[in-house]
C-alpha cells in the first residue's frame, strides 16, 4: 500500500473537551478511504485536521502530526494556503460563492494565478465542469449566478471549483447528505471516476454509501480510531467487537 497521508499521535481538543484521542492512521494513495462511526465520534474533526480547517475555530488545540507525502502540514514552515490547495474539501452543504457559475470555478485558479490569459481560464473552467459532470447542463448559462442552480448541481459546481486548483487529495464531509438520491448517486459516480487520479477521504453516516465507495475504511468511536483497514476485510471480517456491532446496525 502506497501511503499518501499519515496521521501520527493526533490529539485534538476543543477547549477542555478532547475530540480526538491518539489517532494513528494511514490513508492510501489514489483510493477512497471512508471514515465511519456514530455521530459525534470525531469523524469530521479527523477529516478537517487534514486540511487544517480545525484552526478556524477559536480554542482548538492540536498535537501530533499529519504527514502528506512525508511533510508535516502542521509544521511552522508550511504555508496553510498551500496545504489547502493540495487538499481540497467538498463540504456537507454546497456553498456556491455569490458569483457566476464561471467565476466559481475560476475563483481558486485566479487566487493562485494558475493560468495566463482568458482563453486558458475558459478552457480550464470547461475542463473541470466536464469532470464534475456539469458542463452539459450549464454551458449555455455560465454567467448566471451559481445560486440559480439546483442543490445537486451546486454540489457538483463545488466539486469543479475544488478540482480546478489541482489538488492531490479530495476530502468529502458527508458530501451527499444534503442531496436527493439522484444527485447523491451522481456525486458518488464522480468520486468513483476520480479515484484514479486523486486520493479521496470521505466521511459518511450511511453504511450503504460506505460499502459502495470504500476501498479502505476507518471506524471511529468516541474520538478514537477503533479499526482501520481495507474495506473488504473490515466489512466481512471486522476484528473489533464495536465495529461488528456498528456494521450490524446494533447502534
Amino acid at each position: 500500500m502506497d501511503t499518501h497521508i499519515q496521521v501520527k499521535d493526533l490529539n485534538v481538543y476543543y477547549g477542555k473537551q478532547q475530540a480526538l484521542k491518539d489517532v494513528n492512521i494511514e490513508v492510501p494513495k489514489k483510493q477512497i478511504t471512508v471514515i465511519m462511526g456514530p455521530s459525534g465520534c470525531g469523524k469530521t474533526t479527523l477529516l478537517k485536521s487534514l486540511n487544517r480547517f480545525l484552526e478556524l475555530t477559536d480554542g482548538t488545540r492540536i498535537t501530533g502530526e499529519v504527514l502528506v507525502d512525508g511533510q508535516n502540514i502542521y509544521d511552522r514552515e508550511v504555508d496553510v494556503t498551500e496545504v489547502r490547495k493540495i487538499v481540497g474539501l467538498l463540504a456537507q452543504r454546497p456553498a456556491p460563492l455569490p458569483m457566476s457559475i464561471y467565476d466559481n470555478v475560476a475563483y481558486g485558479m485566479h487566487i493562485h494565478k494558475m493560468r495566463n490569459d482568458r482563453k486558458e481560464y475558459k478552457a480550464a473552467v470547461r475542463h473541470y465542469l466536464e469532470i464534475a459532470g456539469l458542463w452539459e447542463e450549464v454551458q449555455k448559462r455560465l454567467h448566471d449566478p451559481a445560486s440559480s442552480l439546483s442543490i445537486g448541481q451546486q454540489q457538483r459546481l463545488c466539486l469543479a471549483r475544488g478540482l480546478a486548483v489541482e489538488p492531490e487529495i479530495i476530502l468529502g464531509d458527508e458530501p451527499t447528505s444534503a442531496l436527493d438520491p439522484i444527485s447523491s448517486q451522481n456525486i458518488e459516480a464522480r468520486l468513483l471516476d476520480l479515484k484514479q487520479q486523486y486520493t479521496t477521504v470521505i466521511v459518511t453516516q450511511t453504511l450503504r454509501q460506505a460499502k459502495r465507495l470504500a476501498d479502505h475504511v476507518i471506524y471511529m468511536y468516541m474520538g478514537e480510531v477503533i479499526e482501520s483497514g481495507p474495506a473488504k476485510e473490515v466489512f466481512t471480517n471486522p476484528k473489533h467487537e464495536r465495529t461488528r456491532q456498528y456494521l450490524e446496525g446494533l447502534f
Binding site: T81, R84, A91, A95, P98, I111, G162
Partner: protein, 331 residues
C-alpha cells in the same frame, strides 16, 4: 390587527341559539382590547415624529412665507437685526464638520470592524465590544470638554503650524484663524464620538455573512484577506455605506460637543482650520435670547426644521438598507 380568534366550541354551542353571528368570548375580547392599547402605545413614537415636524413647520411658517426657500437655504448673511436670515453659513458649517468627522472616522473604524469580525480571537471580541459600548455612553458634554482641553490646543499648537509649514498651498488646509477653535477640532471630536456606532453596526453586518462562504473560499487555498476582499466585502458594501450614513446623521445633529470646540463664527468656511457655526449650535446658543427681533424665533425653528429633515432622510435611508441586510436570507 382585526384578526378574530377562533371561538371555542363549547362557547359557540351556548350562543348559537341567540345570535346568527358568533360573538366573541369575553376572554378573547379582553385580549383584543389589550392588543389595541399596546398597538397605539407602539405607534406613539411615530405620531411624535409627525407632531414635532408639524409643530416646527407651523412655527417656521412665518419665515418661510417672508422669504423664498432658496434665499433662506443659500443666503450667506445672518443678521437678524437687519432682517437677513441666511442659513448658508450654518448649513455649510454643519456639512464641513460632519464630512471631516466622517472622513477621519471611517478608515480606522472599517479596519477595526474587519479586525473584530474576521480576525480577532473571541476573547478579544468579548472584551472590546463592551468597551466600545462604554465609549458610546460617555456624555457629549464630556467629549466637548475633552475637545476643549486636549484637541483645540493640539490643533492650535501642532496641527495648524504643521499645516502652515507643509500644506500652506492647499486652500482647505490654509490657516486663516490660528486659534484651534476650528472645523478640524469639531471633526476630530465627532470622529471619536461616532466611532463606536460605526464599528458596532459594521461588525453586525459582517456577522450576517455565513461562515460557509468564508470556508468555501479558504478551502481552495485563499488567504484570509483574499477571502475578505473577494467574498465578504462585496456582500457587505451596502451595509457599510448605510453604517457610514447613520454615523453621519449622528454627527450632523451633535450639538454640545461640537459647539464647544468649533468657534461658532457665522462665516462660509474655506479651510478645515476655519471656525464654523453648525446649525445645532446656532439653535442651542440663541433660542430664547433676543426674541424681540421680528421673525427671529421663526428663523431658528426653521433652522431646526432643516436639521430635522436632513437627519430624518439620512436615518430612514440607512435604516432601510440595514434592516434588509440584517434580515437577508441565504440560499
Amino acid at each position: 390587527m382585526n384578526d378574530t380568534h377562533p371561538v371555542p366550541p363549547e362557547i359557540n354551542e351556548k350562543i348559537e341559539g341567540r345570535s346568527p353571528r358568533p360573538s366573541i368570548a369575553p376572554r378573547a375580547r379582553q385580549d383584543q382590547r389589550a392588543r389595541r392599547v399596546f398597538f397605539i402605545i407602539t405607534l406613539l413614537p411615530v405620531f411624535l415624529i409627525l407632531a414635532v415636524t408639524i409643530a416646527l413647520l407651523v412655527r417656521a411658517w412665518p419665515i418661510l412665507q417672508a422669504y423664498p426657500l432658496g434665499d433662506l437655504l443659500f443666503g450667506q448673511v445672518w443678521k437678524p437685526s437687519d432682517k437677513l436670515f441666511g442659513f448658508g453659513p450654518f448649513i455649510l458649517g454643519t456639512l464641513w464638520v460632519t464630512v471631516v468627522g466622517v472622513l477621519l472616522s471611517v478608515p480606522p473604524c472599517l479596519l477595526a470592524s474587519i479586525y473584530l469580525a474576521e480576525y480577532a480571537h473571541s476573547a478579544t471580541r468579548s472584551f472590546t465590544k463592551p468597551v466600545l459600548d462604554l465609549l458610546a455612553a460617555i456624555p457629549p458634554v464630556v467629549y466637548g470638554v475633552w475637545g476643549l482641553l486636549a484637541i483645540v490646543p493640539f490643533v492650535e499648537k501642532v496641527l495648524a503650524p504643521f499645516a502652515k509649514r507643509w500644506l500652506g498651498s492647499v486652500s482647505i488646509f490654509s490657516v486663516n484663524q490660528p486659534t484651534g477653535f476650528s472645523i478640524l477640532s469639531g471633526g476630530i471630536v465627532l470622529a471619536v464620538m461616532i466611532a463606536p456606532l460605526i464599528i458596532s453596526v459594521v461588525y453586525e453586518i459582517f456577522a450576517t455573512v455565513p461562515n460557509d462562504l468564508r470556508h468555501a473560499s479558504l478551502a481552495v487555498g485563499a488567504t484570509q484577506w483574499q477571502t475578505i476582499r473577494n467574498i465578504v466585502l462585496p456582500q457587505v458594501t451596502p451595509g457599510i455605506i448605510a453604517a457610514i450614513v447613520l454615523g453621519a446623521s449622528r454627527a450632523f445633529g451633535e450639538t454640545i460637543a461640537v459647539l464647544i470646540v468649533v468657534g461658532n463664527v457665522p462665516q462660509i468656511p474655506t479651510s478645515i482650520f476655519d471656525s464654523a457655526y453648525p446649525l445645532p449650535a446656532l439653535i442651542a446658543n440663541n433660542y430664547g435670547d433676543m426674541m424681540s427681533i421680528p421673525l427671529y424665533d421663526s428663523a431658528l425653528l426653521g433652522a431646526a426644521l432643516v436639521l430635522l429633515v436632513i437627519i430624518l432622510i439620512f436615518n430612514i435611508l440607512s435604516t432601510l438598507v440595514l434592516q434588509r441586510m440584517l434580515r437577508r436570507k441565504w440560499a
